[in-house]
Amino acid sequence: MKTLADLKAIREKAQQEMKLRNSNVRVKVIVGMGTSGIAMGAREVMKAFLDEVANRSLADVVVTQTGEKGFSSMEPVVDVVEEGKARITYGNMNAEKAKRVVVDHLVNGNPVKEFIISTEE
């Protein structure tokens, strides 16, 4: 290490490793992991999100989980929470759809309208 720029490069890489502990992430993906969600394949959906976010090195996206949300008939349910924007809830998710949400919504900023089941200000 010879310059401040070197240090900065190391810091940025290390910050990605620690992003779960960083409170100011840009987007939170919250997968509903209640009993019915898990029965409908929420784990696969979550894994798909994790893999896709990792593959694309989205340092400012955190994938986390929550309990039953009350949309049992539309499980697996996923919330996308972005600072300063409406909370978007996707329903009837699967691994393929998850990948599309990552590409269209998280990367390009266009929510995937056909999967949305509710939007909350």
């Binding site: 810091r11 290390a14 490793e17 620690m18 779960l20 209640g34 994790l50 990792a54 593959n55 340092a59």
Partner: protein, 616 residues
């Protein structure tokens, strides 16, 4: 890029480890494997999170959920409910007014705290330099090396108002300036981690929880003063702190942050660890320097000060762990930011180790100028159980005690000194009304007698004399004039001793005499220990009206001094009683009580014995 979704931070500070944190970690690894989700969860061992009394504690990110008093049996529930189904386990959270407090921010223990030195402690993995760098580590050093002259760095510390956190409170910037102006072909920086006060664990926690912060602080100090070699003097009782600092040094070298021409500048620096054998006096800087050089750890007269003639007679800067721990934040956030906290003379924050009869035992960092009341009752959660607050010992065996009358005293170096206590390194021992202050003074003095290095007579002989007087007083053999004798001895020892140990060792006695003189008088004049602690000056009694004659006490008495029957009830033969307290414990109807004062029978027996001795 990791595919992890949860960072599980398990506090592995010494308190939590002894409460079983490592067993929980092992169990967690097993359960995660059983559920096949090991690759989704990061388990991180952190340094002390602070609330040692709640141990073992853990934090779960990204939510920031705080769990306390976790036992291995809870692990399955945490994994199934929280990690798999996303439902945090309320049962294991801190409870208040029937509400579960999920995150650290909601818990009162943390609310009055301001973390500077402990900023990252309990938040990062202390064995990974990458995590430290991710949180802005080594930036202060890099900036200083590239953009600041050594004199500017000294100016920053001077403006911040930082004072030595080891106890004496000497302004750090001035100390740096002395070393920087001293002439020598080589200069040294020493980190004083010889924390020896009973009940103090601030420095250990900082070294264990965030070693790179201390190392970076040392390098900043070295750059500012022109030093090129550093020593960490850590007591051998702190093996984990030693391991962590050694690891931090190795990692910093690997990244090119230590060694020759750091950051491409002229600055070269290397450091190593020296372990101390555990002598309290080696926390005194001249004794510490002797010990590093392999000599006997004894203080030497000042001047010459270490700033001019220290290690191997070269200019040497000695700074405490916490002092170094404050530096990077001062450099990153600015001297004015630091100076905006605290009182006129004492700036910034101070780390305290809260122990004793207090609800939230643990490691806290609060702004200077906080009142003792806030520290004990708000941060510390007050006294455990139904007891009342009696006194607080600040500064360990070198400090003094403060009482109920001092709850509104603001904590800073000058005020505490004026009231007869001292900041010390930050040990805070809280005592409830079951403590006998004479006995407490005796305990601390006993420590100082043991730890006196023996070099100068006032400390070596004087402290022993004081101890013997106190010992007599607690055994009911106190005399008229003992208190005055203690005060005279104490004041002389303070004036005549060479180093800080002797100069401060009489403080616990002097301050307890100042605030609890009535207790001393009761011991001497009435042969009575009002708190019923000193065994010779209290006795047990069986209330015959309450006694049901069950004989449990008589059967448990190790010296068979309790006799009686179901009809006559039971009675203690006071002369034979050894005050073990078994009878008090077993009595099912609480007929046995502790009474203050020596029993009449015992007094008579003692007079009789004295007479027999005289006749012989």
């Amino acid at each position: 890029m990791p595919t992890k979704r949860i960072d599980l931070l398990i506090c592995c500070g010494s308190g939590c480890v002894s409460a079983g944190a490592l067993r929980i970690k092992e169990r967690m690894i097993e359960v995660l494997q059983e559920n096949n989700i090991s690759n989704e969860i990061n388990i991180i061992e952190t340094g002390c999170m602070g609330p040692c009394d709640f141990g073992p504690v853990m934090m779960v990110y990204p939510e920031g959920i705080f769990y306390k008093k976790v036992v291995p049996e809870d692990v399955v529930e945490i994994v199934n409910e929280h990690f798999i189904k996303g439902r945090p386990v309320k049962r294991l959270m801190q409870q208040e007014d029937n509400k579960a407090l999920a995150t650290k921010e909601e818990i009162p223990f943390y609310q009055k705290q301001v973390k500077v030195a402990l900023e990252n402690c309990g938040y990062l993995d202390p064995e990974k330099i990458e995590e430290y760098i991710a949180l802005g580590g080594y930036e202060a050093l890099g900036n200083a090396l590239i953009n600041m002259k050594p004199a500017d760095a000294i100016e920053v510390v001077k403006r911040s108002g930082l004072r030595g956190r080891g106890g004496a409170g000497f302004p750090t910037g001035m100390k740096w300036e002395f070393v920087s102006k001293a002439k020598g072909d080589i200069k040294y920086v020493v980190c004083n981690a010889d924390e020896g006060d009973p009940g103090a664990f601030m420095d250990r926690s900082l070294l264990e929880g965030d070693p790179h912060r201390v190392l970076e602080g040392m390098m900043l100090a070295a750059y500012a003063t022109g030093a090129s070699e550093g020593y960490f003097y850590i007591r051998a009782e702190y093996p984990l702190a030693i391991k962590r600092i050694k690891k931090a040094i190795a990692q910093a070298k690997e990244y090119g942050l230590m060694g020759k021409n750091i950051m491409g500048t002229e600055f070269c620096f290397d450091a190593e660890v020296r372990t101390g054998a555990g002598a309290f006096v080696c926390g005194e800087e001249t004794a510490l320097i002797s010990s590093i050089m392999g000599r006997r750890g004894q203080p030497t007269p000042k001047p010459p000060f270490p700033a001019n003639e220290g290690l191997w007679s070269k200019p040497t800067l000695v700074n405490n762990v916490e002092t170094l721990g404050n530096l990077i934040t001062i450099f990153n956030k600015g001297a004015d930011w630091f100076a905006s906290m605290g009182t006129d003379t004492s700036k910034g924050t101070k780390v305290f180790a809260l122990t004793g009869d207090i609800a939230n035992t643990g490691l806290v960092e609060v702004p200077m100028g906080i009142t003792i009341k806030e520290l004990i009752f708000e941060v510390g959660g007050g006294i455990v159980g139904d007891h009342k607050f009696k006194a607080v010992q600040l500064g360990g065996p070198s400090g003094g005690c403060l009482t109920n009358d001092h709850l509104d005293v603001k904590i800073d170096y000058e005020t505490l000194k004026e009231k007869g206590a001292m900041m010390g390194s930050g040990g805070v021992i809280v005592m409830n009304d079951t403590n006998c202050m004479v006995n407490i003074a005796k305990y601390f003095l006993d420590f100082s007698v043991d730890e006196s290095c023996g070099k100068c007579a006032p400390c070596r002989i004087g402290l022993k004399q004081m101890f013997e007087i106190l010992d007599r007083i607690t055994k009911g053999k106190g005399k008229e004039g003992d208190i005055e004798e203690l005060v005279t001895l104490g004041n002389s020892i303070k004036q005549l001793s060479l180093c800080g140990l002797g100069q401060s060792a009489p403080n616990p006695v002097l301050s307890t005499i100042r605030y609890f003189r009535d207790e001393y008088e009761a011991h001497i004049n009435k042969q009575e220990c009002p708190s019923k602690v000193c065994l010779d000056l209290m006795h047990f009694n069986i209330n015959k009206d309450k006694c049901i004659g069950c004989s449990l006490c008589a059967r448990r008495c190790p010296v068979t001094c309790i006799n009686g029957s179901r009809q006559d009830k039971y009675e203690i033969k006071q002369v034979d009683c050894v005050k073990c307290g078994n009878c008090l414990e077993v009595c099912p109807v609480k007929a046995v009580t502790k009474e203050a004062g020596m029993h009449e029978d015992v007094k008579k027996r003692m007079e009789q014995l004295a007479q027999e001795m005289a006749e012989m």
